[in-house]
């Protein structure tokens, strides 16, 4: 069997890692509140529309909801699934390429097949 190596962190390293973990925690909590806030706004918009508040038309709410959804996906990926950290270049590239194809191809279908 391969030997197991035990690696001891120096105190400086330990301190740095701790600081980093704390920062990351702070970021996560902030983003979590932001996401809850966005969700609240989304629901309120729909409630406002349902109860007929002036200015909340379908053509305003639907694009706004889409935008919020996109922001939420981004936050989810970067803050909670750690895509902002080092070493995620390749997964990012594949995800963005896939998303691009997944957007462009249906768009083409929508315009030239189903229009």
């Amino acid at each position: 069997m391969a030997e197991i190596e035990v690696y001891k962190r120096t105190p400086a390293e330990q301190a740095m890692l701790k600081k980093r973990a704390k920062q990351s925690m702070k970021g996560q909590i902030m983003m979590f509140s932001l996401m809850i806030f966005l969700t609240l706004i989304s629901f309120s918009m729909v409630v406002a529309f349902e109860s007929g508040v002036a200015g909340f038309s379908k053509y305003f709410i639907v694009p706004m909801l889409m935008l919020f959804a996109a922001v939420q996906v981004g936050l989810q990926l970067y803050y909670f699934m750690h895509m902002s950290e080092k070493g995620h270049g390749i997964p990012q590239m594949f995800m963005f390429t896939g998303a691009l194809f997944g957007f462009l191809i249906p768009l083409t279908f929508a315009t030239i097949v189903w229009w």
Partner: protein, 624 residues
Amino acid sequence: MSSVAQKKGFGATLWDWLTTVDHKKIGILYFLGGGFFFVVGGIEAMLIRWQLHKPNNDFVSAGLFNDLITMHGTTMIFLAAMPILFGFMNAIVPLQIGARDVAFPFINSLGFWMFFFGGLFLNISWIYGEVPDAGWTSYASLSLASPGHGIDFYAIGLQIAGGGTLMAGINFLVTIINMRAPGMTYMRMPLFTWTTFVASAMILFAFPPLTVGLFFLTFDRMFGGNFFHHAMGGNTIIWEHIFWIFGHPEVYILILPAFGIFSEIFSTFSRKRLFGYPSMVFATVLIGFLGFMVWAHHMFTVGLGPTANAIFAVATMAIAVPTGVKIFNWLLTMWGGSIKVTTPMLYALGFIPSFVMGGVTGVMQGAAPLDYQLHDSYFIVAHFHYVIVGGVVLAILAATHYWWPKMFGTMLHEGLGKVTFVFFFIGFHMTFLIQHWLGFWGMPRRVWTFMDGQGWNMANFISTIGAILMAVGVIVLVINIIITSVKNVRVSNDPWGDGRTLEWAIESPPVFYNFPTTPLVRGLDTVWIEKMEGNEAGYTAAEPVKDIHMPNGSIIPLFMSLGLFVAGFGAMFRTETSWGLPVLIIGLAFTFVCMSARSLIDDTGYYIKKDELLRDMKRKGGQA
């Protein structure tokens, strides 16, 4: 298990090959499997050409002719060209990046067996007597109307084989991302590794659409679906879109590894670093990306409208730019190099003009208004054979000679190799050059026969003679292989003497663990750098000799594929026989049982001990 060679009985050897997870052996299996289907597809081609060698010929019937062209195209693309390329990727890429195997050896074996059983399934149609006959593109308006089980063989066979391809692609991606030796940065990867990487990424994105399309087709034909039935609210054009969203990337999946092979050969035998390496990498990635944006150029005449046609025409022509970059880089690699015209180099030299001609006709077809004239004529046949035979097949033949010593430990005869080249190259141009004119003169593609007095007789006759010359070339190659294997003269690490990349730093063929110690990569063409600095072995170890962890072989991949193969027959005969449904269920259940067995029973592999490695190394005179 010991690494010291032992004499094994036939049964043990067979078992070893059926259960192997060693990338080098799987590479050879792919090579042999693909080679077998290449011969099958070649025989189909000869029958097609014989039918067309004179007007009003009735050598084969019209129906059989449709079977032949469909199976020829499908076999050559899915069962010959791709698997043979996978063979080289398997055999060479792990060596080039300094790895001991691919990332998922088990899945590697599964991918091979799925390809093999899928191909078998497709070709059993010949024995059953109902053969796919709607062309390799299998357009839904034809394929849904095709009576009998022919198209079912196509849909299910390709589904199984395609699943194997997808696994192989993902495996190469993970291997290249994760298993590179220390120092092997992305911008130091040999071009064959790069093109394998990009082609695998294209497989990852292109094969799921094919899977979906084939499932739709399967459901429409066998389970009462209506995806493509226009009378039932479906849309037959959607098949064309789905097929070409897969199909155009597919042609680049074939040509990119070919580009990689030639890049290696040009720089090896010009004894010079590849000119413009970064631009080569960039062009490869760009081609891979653009390849997904042009599919509708196969559908210009469907009636998408001028705007869509214009957009796709421009996108199509844009691909010619990175392709041109590559051509110039190869020319400039040779420029000022000290060129040695070996057999692989001869193929590389022949490839450039041939492929350029195919690219030029591609751009012509990419101009939508002109394509209205060219579409579905022999011009198209000429175009794609110039790129596929002049590009992919020449690359396969070149790589066969170039890497034969690395895969099999012997050297193919150079003289016979050159004979093969001459026959094949002349035959190829003779067959397909004249077909451009046949297209201009109005001969449609996929016709069973033609009438006298249209001025097509001579051209078709010449084309058939060319095909015979190509066949002669391939036969000479087979003879060469037999002679070489019988003589069995073993060769050294670097039999060409000019190897630049890591595969040439180890024995031919390599020991089963490839590298006793992981190599340290010091730059592009690392072996060349080491040799120039006087290190004859060509490699520096990155670590001391340690125990090596190896995976165990397994028969499960073969069984899993067999289950799918059996289930395929069940699906096909489900409605007309009482045994169809049970067989479908039993086949799938068997596959799932095998899968669970694999998941539940831990197989942690084994270790090669340090002592054993040291003994091996001493026996070889102790390199590293």
